[in-house]
Amino acid sequence: MSGLRVINPGVRSTIQDSGRRSYRKHGLAAGGALDIHAYNWANKLLDNPVNSACVEILLGGLEAEAETDMIIAVAGAAPRIRVNGNPADGWQTVQLHKGDTIAVDPARSGRITYLATPGGFDTATWFGSRSVVVREQIEGIEAIRKGDILSSADAIAEFKPRRVPVHFHGNYSDRLTLRLMPAAQHSLFHRDDLLKLTTSTYQVSNQSDRMGFRLEGPALEHVPPGIISEGIAMGSVQVPGDGKPIVLLNDCQTIGGYPKPGTIGALDAGRLAQRLPGQELEFCFVDVADIQNERVVFHRFFSETRWHTDGTNLIWL
């Protein structure tokens, strides 16, 4: 077996694909790549099937050595990586030769970088997915450790270089507006609190992880009481008794009893997941149809475009 041998996993690196299907009734989280924008681009660079497993690198620090000639692709927070110490840009394919080392340094803005390989990383499948949910502490489902060998599903030694057009790169330093679909207990929230939610500035708290992002800012004052626990949609904004919103992400619990004024879409959830503690954001309400249309167009783009032979442009089929 050959592939990338992990020298240092960094702050935290895990394997993620598009997540588990049909296991939430057993109490298992969905898991999956937090930022579907950067994740899909990492796979698109290599023409990978949409569900291919990538390394999700949190904050940076990952170092690895190629045990064979291989191709990788990088997309997300890291503006550049280092190959044998020499800088190479992110958002592109990178040719590695046997013995080359790569390092993904912490980014100045952004939190998550995806590293892809042809056909995806061929790691163990659990619950129909390669996604790793560390929080559940299920034996064998673990974060990447020093010494792990991450091998490609498809062995491709040579590949014509490609780079993601600059206007598609994620920008993680912009002030973020999270578009909230009114849902769930929206009607139970006090008018003043809904107004406060959409006219205040919130900051990403340092208590933010793959389960959810806590927000700091003006607390809602008339939070409705707890509800009978119900299934939680990813992107749900729940407001516990302290009045401070928590946006629930991929590793969140399957059911919960805190009231929720609404839900953000997967693309906005990805934008949020890329934000670092202290970064500012605000909420606005939108219609579910708008978010659904945007999401559909997003996935159509990846399935219905192909690369121009120059490797720097895409063409609709």
Partner: protein, 230 residues
Amino acid sequence: MKISAVSEDSVLITLADAISDTLPRRIARLCHRIEASSGDWLVDLVPSYTTLLVIYDPVRIDFRRVEAHLKSSLRKASETGADSASGDLSGQITHDIPVYYSPETGPDLEWIARNNSLSVDDVINYHSGGTYTVYAIGFAPGFGFMGQVDPTIAVPRKDTPRSRVPAGSVGIANRQTAVYPKASPGGWQLIGRSPVSLFDPVNLSLLNVGDLVRFHPITRQRFIELGGEL
């Protein structure tokens, strides 16, 4: 009965406003019906006390079509009587879960007895005398929320959760009871421990929403024979 969009890829079916013992079975039957009648647009189902969250693939189907499909499933369910409270009970699963009730494995057993003016044996008899409905699975893989315990032994959650509750611990919180599938932090009042595995990656969750559960007391020796760990 209400169907509402919760996100760009999920809708919530609300079947009732209050918890009842017949509802989980109805929701479980609805799950089966939806699974059998849906195409590959169906991603996941999350049944809970009074609701069913349906997660779909927005690239394959939009909200209006999901809503129409679910309405038709719900209508058929009520026409065939599968939706009625009494309903047909075929496929109703009852689990018999052995529990070693003791202060050794249930550090709150004596406190509950004192607090509720009962003997320890009373607490054990009330708890093992009931038949419980699984209302929801959540909190952790395989963790089933069950009810209702006899009001005589109902106790609130602990003010400060324990940082570690051993796997198999059987607890009470208000009128619900549950078994911790694996060691985790937890705030339920503990009365005993079961040697039964509630979750494993191959067989998944032992309990499903709508199942019935009975507990029966076993001795320390039997607990160890069955693989229980003290």
